[in-house]
C-alpha cells in the first residue's frame, strides 16, 4: 500500500476532497471541503488502510496577526526594551493568508506501514463546529476538548465536551487571534480593583501567625 493508492481512493470516494494548497511539508495533506465528509473519510482510512492511530487534532485561526491584548503582561515581552516603551506592533503577515476561517488539522498514522497523513478542513470562525471523532478513536477525546477550550470549536457528538486546560473563570478562547485577556484576581502585576475575594484568605493566614 502506498500513499498514492490511499490518496487516489480518497479522492475517488470524496470528489470534493483535494490535495491541500498549503500542505504540511513532506507529508501527504488532504483538504476536505464538507464537514459531513470528515467521519466517512476517516472511517475509510481507518478501516481499509489501517490508519488506526489518531496522532493529533488541532486548529489554526486565520484571523490575522495576534492581538497583543491577549497577553497577561504588558504587551511587550522583550525585557531588553525599557519599561513604558510603546508596545510592539504586530508584524504584518504575508498577504492572502488572513481570512475569516479556521482550519482544523488531523494527523492520522498507520503504525504497521509507518505512514502518516494530514487531513484539513475549514470551518467558519463564528459557530465553528465539526462532527466528533470520539466514536472512532478514543484519543480524540482530550484533543478535541483542547481544541474546544483553546480555539472554540465544538465537536458534535463528543460525550464530554468541556474546558480542559484553562480555568473555569477564563472567558474566551486564548488561541484565537482576537482573544483579549480579561483581568482577573490572579493578575499579580496589575490586579483589578476588586480583590476582595482573596483578601479574607490572606487575613486568616495573618491571624495564624499572630
Amino acid at each position: 500500500m502506498s500513499v498514492e493508492e490511499v490518496l487516489a481512493r480518497l479522492f475517488s470516494q470524496f470528489p470534493k476532497a483535494d490535495k491541500a494548497a498549503a500542505a504540511v511539508r513532506d507529508y501527504p495533506t488532504v483538504q476536505l471541503k464538507e464537514p459531513s465528509d470528515l467521519v466517512p473519510a476517516v472511517q475509510l482510512l481507518k478501516e481499509e488502510f489501517g490508519f488506526a492511530y489518531l496522532d493529533m487534532v488541532t486548529a489554526v485561526d486565520w484571523k490575522g496577526p495576534v492581538d497583543m491584548r491577549g497577553y497577561l503582561q504588558e504587551p511587550n515581552p522583550n525585557i531588553f526594551r525599557p519599561s513604558g516603551a510603546p508596545p510592539r506592533e504586530s508584524a504584518k503577515p504575508a498577504p492572502g493568508l488572513a481570512r475569516d476561517a479556521m482550519t482544523v488539522v488531523y494527523a492520522l498514522s498507520s503504525l504497521s506501514e509507518g505512514l502518516k497523513i494530514f487531513l484539513k478542513i475549514d470551518v467558519p470562525r463564528e459557530g465553528a463546529k465539526l462532527p466528533s471523532l470520539t466514536g472512532l478513536f478514543n484519543s480524540a477525546d482530550w484533543q478535541e476538548r483542547e481544541a474546544f477550550d483553546l480555539l472554540g470549536i465544538s465537536f458534535e457528538g463528543h460525550p464530554n465536551l468541556k474546558k480542559i486546560l484553562t480555568p473555569d473563570f477564563l472567558e474566551g478562547h486564548p488561541l484565537r487571534k482576537d482573544y483579549v485577556h480579561v483581568k482577573d484576581r490572579f493578575d499579580v502585576s496589575n490586579p483589578p480593583d476588586d480583590v476582595g475575594s482573596i483578601r479574607p484568605n490572606l487575613r486568616r493566614l495573618g491571624d495564624l501567625d499572630a
Partner: protein
C-alpha cells in the same frame, strides 16, 4: 440462644464515596487532580482534572522569534528537555529547509539518549517510591546526577538546556567530554543489573505491578498511547525506527517490547530501553564525525509562509511539533503534540474497576510530566 442472622450482601447499605486525589499529592508528579468515585475499595469513576500548570506556551510562541521558542520548549517536559528542543528544532528546520551538519546530528543523538536515560531513571526512582521502595530512588538519582553533570559541561544547565538549536547544537563537545561520557557508560552499564535486582524482580514489587492496569494493544492504539506505554502492550512503534531522524537508522538498537501491557511491562520496557540507549550512545561516540556543529542559519528567521510537522521519539513517547509560518519573524501557530497529554487521557478508563490501592501504581507507570500535559 437466639442469634441474629448474619448480614447478607443485599441487606448491607453501600454508598459511593468521592475521593480527591491531588492536586498536591506526592505521587501525582506535579499538579494533577483526579476525582475518584469509589465503592468500597473499587474505583467506579475517575475524572482527571488538568490545567494547573497551563502557561500557554503555544500562545506565547506567537509573539516570540523562532530562536526564542527553543527556551519555551525546554519547559514542556522538563525531565527530558533535550528531546523537546530537538522536536521543535527539527520542525523549524523542515520549515526553512535547513539541515544540521553530521557532527551536530551525532551530538543530538548522544544528548537525547543521555536524556532518555536521565528521564527513565526518574521513573525508576519515583515509581519505586510510589510503590513503597525507597532505596532504588537513591541509586537512580545518583546516576542521574552524573548525566546532569555531563549536560552541565556541554550546555551549562542541568534541567533546561537550550542546547539543541535550529540548525545544529549550541557548541561542540570536547574530547574531554566524550571521555567523561564513556566513563559514565562504563559505570552505568553494570548498574542496570543492580536495578533489576533491587526493584524489577523484587517479589513485593512484582505483586504490586504484575497484571495491574492492563492495556490491551488495541485499546492502547485507540487511545493514542505512544512510547514505552504503547510498546509495553506489544505494538512495535518507535519513531526512531519508522521515521528515523538525526541518523538514527545508523545505530544498532532494537525496539523494546512488552507483551502483557501491565504496569510491570510499562516499567520494565523503560529499564530495558536504557540498555538500548547505552548501545546507541557508545556507537555514536565511536563514530562521532568531525566538522561544524551549527549550520549557517540566520539569527532572525522569516520562513516563507507554509507549515511543517516533525516528530521524534521523546522519553515519554511520540513528541510532535506542528508549526505554521506566515512569513513574519514569529510562528503564526505552534502546536505541540505532547505524549504525556495523550497518554494521560486513558486514565479515565483505566482506573475504572481497579482497586484504589492500585491507582497510584497505575498512574506512576504511565510516566507523565505535568509540564507537558498542561503546556
Amino acid at each position: 440462644m437466639k442469634t441474629a442472622a448474619p448480614p447478607t450482601r443485599s441487606s448491607l447499605k453501600t454508598d459511593q464515596l468521592f475521593v480527591n486525589l491531588g492536586p498536591q499529592h506526592p505521587s501525582t508528579h506535579g499538579v494533577l487532580r483526579v476525582g475518584l468515585t469509589i465503592e468500597g475499595e473499587v474505583i467506579v469513576k475517575a475524572e482527571p482534572d488538568i490545567g494547573f500548570l497551563h502557561r500557554g506556551v503555544e500562545k506565547l510562541a506567537e509573539i516570540r522569534t523562532y530562536a526564542q521558542e527553543v527556551v519555551l520548549s525546554d519547559r514542556l517536559d522538563y525531565c527530558s528537555a533535550m528531546t523537546n528542543n530537538l522536536a521543535y528544532c527539527l520542525a523549524v528546520e523542515r520549515l526553512i529547509g535547513a539541515q544540521a551538519p553530521p557532527r551536530a546530528d551525532a551530538l543530538r543523538v548522544i544528548h537525547c539518549e543521555l536524556n532518555r536515560i536521565a528521564s527513565h531513571l526518574i521513573l525508576l526512582g519515583t515509581y519505586g517510591i510510589d510503590i513503597g521502595a525507597f532505596t532504588p530512588f537513591l541509586h537512580a538519582f545518583r546516576e542521574r546526577e552524573m548525566v546532569l553533570d555531563l549536560f552541565e559541561m556541554s550546555s551549562g544547565a542541568r534541567l533546561t538546556y537550550n542546547y539543541i538549536r535550529i540548525g545544529g547544537v549550541m557548541r561542540d563537545a570536547s574530547a574531554d567530554w566524550a571521555a567523561k561520557a564513556r566513563e559514565f557508560l562504563a559505570y552505568f552499564k553494570p548498574r542496570l543489573d543492580d536495578y533489576d535486582e533491587l526493584l524489577s524482580y523484587n517479589p513485593i514489587f512484582l505483586d504490586r505491578t504484575k497484571g495491574v492496569g492492563v492495556i490491551p494493544a488495541k485499546k492502547a492504539v485507540s487511545w493514542g498511547l505512544s512510547g514505552p506505554n504503547l510498546r509495553a502492550s506489544g505494538v512495535a512503534y518507535d519513531v526512531r525506527k519508522c521515521e528515523p531522524h538525526c541518523g538514527y537508522e545508523k545505530y544498532p538498537f532494537k525496539i523494546v517490547l512488552g507483551h502483557a501491557g501491565d504496569c510491570f511491562d510499562r516499567y520494565h520496557c523503560r529499564v530495558r530501553e536504557m540498555r538500548e540507549a547505552v548501545k546507541i550512545i557508545s556507537a555514536a561516540l565511536d563514530g562521532l564525525p568531525e566538522g561544524e556543529v551549527l549550520a549557517k542559519v540566520p539569527k532572525v528567521l522569516k520562513p516563507a509562509p507554509g507549515e511543517a510537522y516533525a516528530h521524534v521519539e521523546g522519553s515519554r513517547g511520540d513528541l510532535g511539533v506542528y508549526v505554521v509560518s506566515d512569513g513574519t519573524a514569529s510562528p503564526y501557530r505552534l502546536h505541540v503534540r505532547a505524549p504525556s497529554f495523550v497518554n494521560l487521557a486513558i486514565l479515565q478508563e483505566l482506573f475504572v474497576g481497579q482497586r484504589i490501592a492500585d491507582a497510584i501504581a497505575i498512574l506512576g507507570s504511565l510516566d507523565i510530566v505535568l509540564g507537558e500535559v498542561d503546556r
